[in-house]
Symmetry: C2
């Protein structure tokens, strides 16, 4: 393979004037919200998804319109990925294993679907001359930070989950591609993102547990775990805002609301919204839900706010909104 920089290669992304955006994982929970936001901006979007956790119905409202093109492919299929770069201006790389807890049982999923997949995305971009990547990283990269709220300048970062490790590895690959081949990146370190179409996470789990047994709700850990939450709508709005508004070589921001909510409070909200009476909330005990679960995360978001972004919902509002919508989606 010869040395190639993005700038010296054919600029397939800028041919013909019309730009198109690629969203990997675009049929997934956050990805489908991002597709909505980009289409609302008047953009044409190509979705690349292997539909392992993404769902066609999350994009069904775009059916019959030319703005959204769907490609079913896995990021480990390099030829399909390269083909999908044709005519792309910006890659929004959101595809990843969404189940953080899985790493305690299967150790190579995050490596393959996270780190290696990100390598493939970057390599396909380089081959196609696509320069711009917006990446969904995570507060999981911080591990158990000793500074709260945790700013982007916190170090050393020591992820404790295999999911967090794959996100940090992906960040590193992205900055290396910027430094070596002249790519440009927006790296978004997400708080816990909640909202309609959620397919994983604590609210989703609680609703399914109540569906199985409306008399009791088992909470993993002592319920004192406390984290930053953000609505998916605010999250994708922040992503689009940053890509439009900030223009460094590498733009790295925490995305969150600035507050936190405890798992205990989430359990109470889900029970309230369920309408069930006399639910017994039971705690398994211990300071965390599972090995690799960070008991407390709080993201410093002053840097994001300094760009003019204001979230519409705080953590607790986002959780209640999500509980309400997911109860409708899942059905109790």
């Amino acid at each position: 393979m010869q040395e190639m920089s993005f700038r010296r290669m054919a600029q397939s992304g800028s041919q013909g004037g019309a730009t198109m955006e690629l969203v990997t994982g675009g049929a997934g929970f956050i990805g489908s919200h991002l597709v909505d936001a980009l289409v609302a901006q008047g953009k044409s979007v190509r979705v690349l998804d292997n539909f392992s956790s993404g769902r066609e119905e999350f994009l069904a409202h775009h059916n019959g319109r030319s703005e959204v093109e769907i490609v079913k492919a896995d990021l480990l299929d390099f030829d399909s990925l390269k083909a999908a770069m044709e005519g792309i201006d910006t890659v929004h790389h959101l595809a990843a294993n969404p189940d953080i807890r899985l790493g305690t049982e299967v150790t190579d999923t995050d490596l393959r679907q996270g780190t290696v997949a990100t390598y493939n995305v970057l390599e396909a971009m380089r081959h196609a001359g696509v320069e711009r990547i917006s990446f969904s990283s995570s507060s999981a990269i911080y591990g158990e930070a000793s500074v709260m709220p945790t700013p982007e300048t916190y170090g050393p970062v020591k992820p404790i989950s295999l999911y967090g490790a794959s996100k940090l590895a992906s960040e590193a690959l992205i900055t290396a591609w910027c430094g070596t081949f002249g790519a440009k990146a927006w790296i978004h370190r997400f708080a816990n993102i909640v909202g309609p179409r959620g397919t994983h996470g604590v609210i989703f789990d609680f609703i399914h547990k109540l569906k199985r047994d409306p008399s009791r709700l088992e909470v993993l850990g002592n319920g004192l775990q406390e984290k930053s939450y953000m609505s998916a709508e605010d999250c994708v709005r922040a992503m689009v805002h940053l890509v439009d508004q900030v223009d460094e070589n590498v733009n790295l921001y925490n995305l969150g609301t600035g507050d936190t909510c405890s798992v205990r409070r989430i359990a109470e909200i889900v029970v309230e919204e369920s309408g069930f009476d006399n639910v017994s909330i039971e705690y398994t005990g211990g300071d965390r839900g599972w090995a690799g679960d960070v008991p407390k995360t709080s993201l410093e978001v002053g840097y994001l706010f300094s760009t003019g972004f204001v979230p519409n919902m705080q953590s607790e509002d986002a959780i209640r909104h999500t509980a309400r919508v997911l109860i409708q989606e899942i059905g109790l």
Copy 2:
């Protein structure tokens, strides 16, 4: 695959009382110095090396003694790696692609020989119940840091080389294994390490250039690149010191001397030591040697020094010593 923690598994490493240490890349430049240091401590050592850059002669002085066992295998060969964990107490994981510049031309070497290899090491440790890992990371993980000297607490870290990305990805995998499966880690962020048996790097390159043409020495960049250097002997002494002296769950330290040396000064020293007269030192220009080369690194080493470690050589001494020895090894 079932969930397993180190502690719940058979402790093969502690059977029989006698401990053995595994050194991956133990036939390489720094690895072979570490083998010397461990043997000097009275330890038995198993070397695992694929001999891609390692050399048998680097360990020849241990031939015929029972303390050093050599296994020729690649870290991507998982079965051999698992077998090599038998009876091991601590893994010193040094194997990696040593050629930082290669990433500008071949993009998957650092991913495979760095990130995936580290994953395999950790996974083999988990299967065998080996708990302790000492890992050779690099100042390359910092990228172009805005704070100099750069402390371990600097963030966000944004490596600009694919080598640096693989080191940061490996750090992340290691801390995730500690957080999820109960491993214990020493992470050493190396300055530029120089010394006898060097097979890559600026001093090695300069000597080979002078060997080809004693009338001129071409220096990549403007020569104002300035970095922290440390002798290989001091480096492995610091590694052994930290593994013996500090005992957190994750022990992460910069390893260096506290000073820096410019590439221009290195060129002068190599020419002085070569004995050649009238060498014309010529600069290709530009602020860095190649895309992904960090022009200036300076490591803050107060944290290392606070543990009682004192280096024997400063940067310039280490460089002169290395030039002298490598000129003998390479032959001018």
